[in-house]
Amino acid sequence: MARKILTEHINIPGIESFDVYRQQGGYTAVEKAIKTMTPEEVVEEAKKSGVRGRGGAGFPMGMKWGFLAKPEGIPRYLVCNADESEPGTFKDHHLMKSIPHLLIEGMIISSFALGANKSFIYVRGELMYVIRILEKAIEEAKAKGFLGKNILGSGYDLELIVQPGGGAYICGEETALLESLEGKRGNPRNKPPFPAVKGLYQSPTVVNNVESISNMPWIINNGGDAYAAIGIGRSTGTKLISASGHIQKPGVYEIELGLSVDEFLNSDEYCGGVRKGHHLKALVAGGSSVPILPANLITKTANGEDRLMSYESLSDGGFATGTMLGSGGFIVFDETACIVRNTWNFSRFYHHESCGQCSPCREGTGWMEKVLHRIEHGHGSMHDIDLLVDISKKIEGNTICPLGDAAAWPVASAIRHFRDEFMWHITNPLEASQPGAVYQGEMALV
């Protein structure tokens, strides 16, 4: 069995309560950090660990903390991004509902490290039941002296607030999240200034993902070096993978980074293989926004090396033959899945979720959805395929936040690898627009 950092205790009955969590060694990292370490030493351990942002961007967390401005007399904020909304991703949901104190312990340590006295956990509003679980856990931690005034007699004060969102994918973008937290529409801000300088209420702010912060108790207990010893290269530690689609055992799995994609997909410890009687067609490895891969590029890279579950190996070959680890939303497609229909579905998602500020995204996402809709429904023309590629190129890189890229990549990659399937839809409109119709020709072009 692989080492577990986040989920070791997740199946213990009652682990959502303070007492059971404490019996399993919970909150010892808070004691260690607050009683025996300086905030700078905690930041140093985060840096040594090499833990990278688990929300999708993969930016080193310790380095992000290092950017935080510390002007005299101005409060600093830590905001946890629990707005998990990337299709295919449900790991933070699983972690928070099952073992809420892990995130709270991580928030206390991280807030202490950053010198924040008021910190927020911004949870997507749909997860109101999880918000209630977190709020109950916060009350328990407060009653035991781990939150509130003068934590463990140290003189350090921390108030932890759980903020519900209102249903908007864009609020997972950190500056949109801060706007939302200020009670506004979730429109991403122009950068610079970055949140580390001007964030919440124009004060220095760090925004980190749930999973990133939840690693901190282990890092403090065992040291950043011990964390960095797990994983492979610059992909240190473990990663939660949300596995969905056509597999035997959908669910959330914690893996050591560097595990082979083949083992993750096929071993009984994880996905258990493609569902019985079917075979692999395609994979979205890191949430809906990352490029889709055809079967022949999933377990092997274009060079024929084993593909690994790591930031580097998944992106091997760039977008021509690779993809990204992203948020770890691992969506598996067997031969019954229609790539055109799925691409239209994802495109509709990004059109629906575009905030509308930047023209390329506002207009382009709707346009792509419309073109994909007509191809899927038997009204496409050959020109439409290149039109989609053209629109996607004009969105990519031309917006103030990454939603534009996230909308462009799934479309561009689907055409890159499954162009024949798009062509089949256009040349066989009657057949292709039947419910459940799927292209049965060559599975993919590389």
Binding site: P75, E84, S85, E86, P87, G88, T89, F90, D92, H93, K118, R124, G125, E126, L127, M128, Y129, R132, E159, I161, Q163, P164, G165, G166, G167, A168, Y169, S180, L181, E182, G183, K184, R185, G186, Y201, S242, A243, S244, G245, H246, P250, G251, V252, S288, G329, I331, F333, A337, R341, N342, N345, F346, F349, H352, E353, C355
Partner: protein, 165 residues
């Protein structure tokens, strides 16, 4: 469907809750309470009429338009009257891979309504939503705070019959 009495006012318990929410934020930053307070309002009235939004603006000491622009941006807020049970089903890719389109088709047929509509008895409203972060347990829908997962046609029948009692 819920009639919203005029003048609009929170119940005493909810008003306490709202005061507690406002007190969470730094001095002068009470606008941060807007999203959570709109959730409390929707919990009481089922949807947000312009009177409700004006009332919330008054409580938070912000302009009514600041409430309208937020309420219209976020998809969870209902801007029209809804039925007693709002069924919000996930239409995004992973749920569809798990047979979502068939299950939702069955759901619509069972209730005799389409997305965005309410049954004539005012019991159910159907709302199509994007990813609910439960992809491995799809197809999924949500009714208020409860998630219903791994849905099948039979399971849908059971849930609807249970809620129709």
């Amino acid at each position: 469907m819920t009639e919203i009495p005029n003048p609009v006012a929170f119940t005493p318990e909810r008003l306490e809750k709202v005061k507690e929410i406002i007190a969470r934020y730094p001095e002068g930053r009470q606008k941060s309470a807007l999203l959570p307070v709109l959730h409390v309002a929707q919990e009481q009235w089922g949807w947000l009429s312009s009177e409700v939004m004006d009332y919330v603006a008054g409580i938070l000491r912000i302009e009514p338009v600041e409430v309208y622009e937020v309420a219209t941006f976020y998809t969870m807020y209902h801007l029209d009257p809804v039925g007693k049970h709002v069924i919000e089903y996930c239409r995004t890719g992973p749920c569809c891979l798990m047979g979502g389109e068939d299950v939702y088709g069955h759901l619509k047929q069972k209730l005799g309504i389409g997305a965005g509509e309410t049954t004539s008895d005012g019991l159910f409203t159907l709302k199509e939503v994007e990813c609910l972060a439960a992809c491995g347990w799809g197809p999924v829908f949500q009714i208020r705070e409860k998630y219903y997962m791994n849905l099948t046609n039979d399971r849908v029948d059971e849930i609807i019959e249970e809620l129709s009692k």
